[in-house]
Each structure stands twice: as structure tokens, then as C-alpha cells.
């Protein structure tokens, strides 16, 4: 006898509803309130949590860079230099250390950071001297500075 469709008592029933619900609730167990127990509330909270974690992964890089910059600024102020002066003079002296490493050196290797600050300071002064020229008066009649004695 050929049977083309299944008999009526063989229904396709959902048997693993428990595990499908647990898959979502396992991410919500540390939440506060009823959203750590009730599936309907948990689904929404878990979805928002995932979206927020994806966005936060991109913003973490911005936070960390701002943190490193704050730390380097504090350390260079201890040595008498401001952050823009420090970073620009280090870059002009062809020292290509990034902010993460500079912040680590400022915390764990104070002597090395002091030497880097001295290097930046020296390069800054050399830059000033190169920009100021010889200190003589400029040529020309109208650009001569008049001295009253």
C-alpha cells in the first residue's frame, strides 16, 4: 500500500522549546529585574545588549586613545613640557613611538620617559633657534628698528 502523506496522529511538534529559550536567557542571567527570567522581556534586553557591545567595540579605540593622551600629558607636564610640544618634537626627531607605548613607558619606565622629554625639549629649542635666525636686524630702510637714546 503506498502512503503519500503522513497519518493524522504524526504531527510536527516543537520539542526543544526549552533549549531555544535558554539560548537567549543565558546571555541575560546577570541582568537586573524580570528581564533575567522572563523570555519576552529578555529577548529585547539581550538584543539591545548585543547592539551596544558591537558599537562599543568601535568606541573603545577612541576611549583608549584619549586615556593614553591624558596620561602622556600628565607625565610630560611633570617634566615641564606640554603635550603638543612633546608629541610634535618627538615626531620631528624621527621617534615613531605610538601613544599606547608612550603611556606604558610613562607609567613603568620613568627614567626612559624623562630622557624622551629631554630629547623633545632639546629639539624644540633647536627649532626655535632655527626659526629666529641670527638675531640681527633685517635689511631695508622701512623695516629697520629705530632706537631712541
Amino acid at each position: 500500500m503506498v502512503v503519500l502523506s503522513a497519518a493524522r496522529w504524526l504531527r510536527s511538534r516543537l520539542t526543544d522549546r526549552f533549549w531555544r529559550v535558554q539560548e537567549v536567557l543565558k546571555y541575560a542571567r546577570h541582568f537586573r529585574g524580570r528581564k533575567n527570567r522572563c523570555y519576552k522581556l529578555a529577548v529585547r534586553s539581550v538584543r539591545r545588549a548585543f547592539v551596544r557591545s558591537t558599537k562599543a567595540r568601535r568606541e573603545k579605540k577612541r576611549f583608549l586613545r584619549a586615556l593614553w593622551i591624558t596620561r602622556i600629558e600628565a607625565a610630560s607636564l611633570e617634566h615641564g613640557l606640554k603635550y603638543p610640544a612633546f608629541i610634535s618634537n618627538l615626531a620631528k626627531s624621527q621617534v615613531e613611538l605610538n601613544r599606547k607605548v608612550l603611556a606604558d613607558l610613562a607609567i613603568y619606565e620613568p627614567k626612559t620617559f624623562k630622557s624622551l622629554a629631554a630629547l623633545a625639549q632639546r629639539r624644540r629649542q633647536e627649532g626655535f633657534l632655527a626659526a629666529l635666525g641670527d638675531g640681527k636686524e633685517p635689511e631695508g630702510i622701512f623695516s629697520r628698528i629705530v632706537h631712541h637714546h
Partner: protein, 156 residues
Amino acid sequence: VPKTSLTSPPWPEVPKLPDPVEEAKYHAEVVQKVNGMISAGQYGRLFAVVHFASKQWKVTSEDLIMMDNVLEAECGDRIRLEKVLLVGADDFTLIGRPLLGKELVRVEATVIEKTESWPKINMRFRKRHNYQRKKIIMNPQTVLRINTIEIYPCLS
């Protein structure tokens, strides 16, 4: 002549730099002293700043490093990390501009494990538009252990 607001320029006065000849002598002395210290081995633990896998790492010996990509080397291979930016000990630091020479520093590392990261979840959701996408990403990771950092007295 009394001082007015225009007697001196508005920028702060720059102190004069020391004499270049004397400076050169002083530099040569310092370089010789550091060379002597290196060849005598009077340094404790060395640390180095290494540029590897497009990131800079501050590294000592017996250090673990994990990078978020694949390395074409088997587990247990010894690797030499070139591209050293800075080497330091307690009394002296060697700053590269931007890199230090290969005959000066040698950083050795071993590949310990190559795994995948924990499953990170990427989810995009737009409200009121029935749009959500969930993706599970597992990046390959490699763990290196830095064995040694050596310096040789080749300064000039």
C-alpha cells in the same frame, strides 16, 4: 633706557645651545661609556619596544604576546622580531630613529599556540523596520612568548 613693552620680542628668550665641538666630545664619551657597560654586561633586565603585526608592544623576556591574526609559522618555531624601536635597561636606553640596527639588538620569540578567539557577537538592529542581523565572529589568534632580548656593543 627704561624697558617698555616693545624693548624685547614677545616670545620667551631661548637659552643658547652648548658649543657643538664640546657637545660632540661629550657625546662620544657617553657612547663609549655605554658601549663599555654593554660589553661588560652591567645591565639587569632589558625591555624593548617592538613593532609587530602593525602594533607596537613593550616587551621583556618571558613575556606573552597575543595577536589577532594568523602567523605562518608552526607551533614551537623560534622567530626573530626585527623592527625594534627602543631598548632600555636600568641605566641607559637606546632610542631608535625610528628603528635600531639589526646588529645592535636581537629579540627572539617562540610561537606557543594558535587558537581562535572567543565567539564575539555582531548584531545590527533597526527599530520598527523588522531588521536584525546576528553574526558570530571568531578571529584566529596567535600567542608568542618572548624568550630573550640581547644587545651587542656596536654603538658608534
